[in-house]
Amino acid sequence: MPRNEHETEKARRSGKTAGGGASPEWADGLRHLYDSVVEEPLPDSFKDLLAQLDETDDDDLPSKEGKKD
């Protein structure tokens, strides 16, 4: 993850917002909303898809998605 993302994160956690003033209570809720999804265990369908990526690559490329000009 690029460093400046962390710096932005720090700046926000220190309570600054674009509108000025202290960070409202919901700002944590918004981050939590995002983080709660990030922390969810990955459903099997995603693991399957990731596993399939290599296979599609070994064989011929999927002509539908791969070829687009």
Binding site: A18, V38, F46, L49
Partner: protein
């Protein structure tokens, strides 16, 4: 585009690196997608579509740059396309969203995540995505501007407006019902999406 030069073929180890980085950002893609569209199952469909597109376009990814930003552009464009094809029309089910959003948290929250999410979904899409990127995803204004293909000042103003709206909505506990299946609201959303789509993300401009 009229580009002649073929991107260099990726070696097996480059592909492995790409796949590892792609795997790492999947949880972030899911979080971004869920913030964009109301339903977790549709959000996940969107993420899978994004992963396939990213894999197919991996030669265009510049190693060393942010995989998260790169894939967010792809996800965003897929979302806009789907929205305009009406794939998400009338699909936002508040009951479902509420159940799924409140269930896994399992801890006391200063405010209900379902309220938060509902408030978020009432925002115009361009403000919602700006707030998601900056306020939740931790992107800088500059990065968010690159992802959305617009000026930094535009992102700042969208985030500012989104914050102001949420401030008043959540402070008063007054969250309007802007449901996506309402005919006129839906039309308004589509019109807004045209504006959003007008600024295509940098990385995806060639995709």
């Amino acid at each position: 585009m009229a580009e002649k030069k073929e991107p260099p073929k990726r070696t097996a180890s480059e592909k492995a690196d790409f796949k590892r980085e792609l795997t790492e950002v999947v949880p972030h893609l899911r979080a971004f997608a869920r913030g964009l569209c109301g339903r977790p199952d549709m959000a996940d469909d969107l993420v899978q579509e994004t992963m396939l597109k990213a894999w197919a376009a991996q030669e265009r990814f510049e190693p060393g740059t942010s995989m998260r930003a790169w894939t967010f552009v792809i996800l965003r464009n897929a979302y806009l396309t789907d929205m305009r094809r009406n794939r998400f029309r009338g699909e936002y089910d508040e009951g479902v969203a509420e159940r799924i959003l409140t269930a896994p948290a399992g801890q006391e929250e200063p405010l209900h995540l379902s309220d938060m999410h509902r408030a978020l979904l009432t925002l115009p899409p361009e403000r919602r995505e700006a707030l998601l990127l900056v306020g939740a995803g931790g992107f800088s204004y500059e990065e968010a501007a690159n992802i959305c293909g617009c000026a930094v000042g535009t992102i700042k103003s969208r985030v500012g407006r989104a914050r102001a709206t949420l401030n008043s909505m959540l402070a008063d506990g007054d969250i309007p019902q802007r449901s996506i299946d309402d005919e006129s609201a839906h039309r308004a959303i589509l019109e807004e999406l045209d504006d959003v789509a007008a600024g295509k993300g940098e990385a995806a401009a060639k995709a």
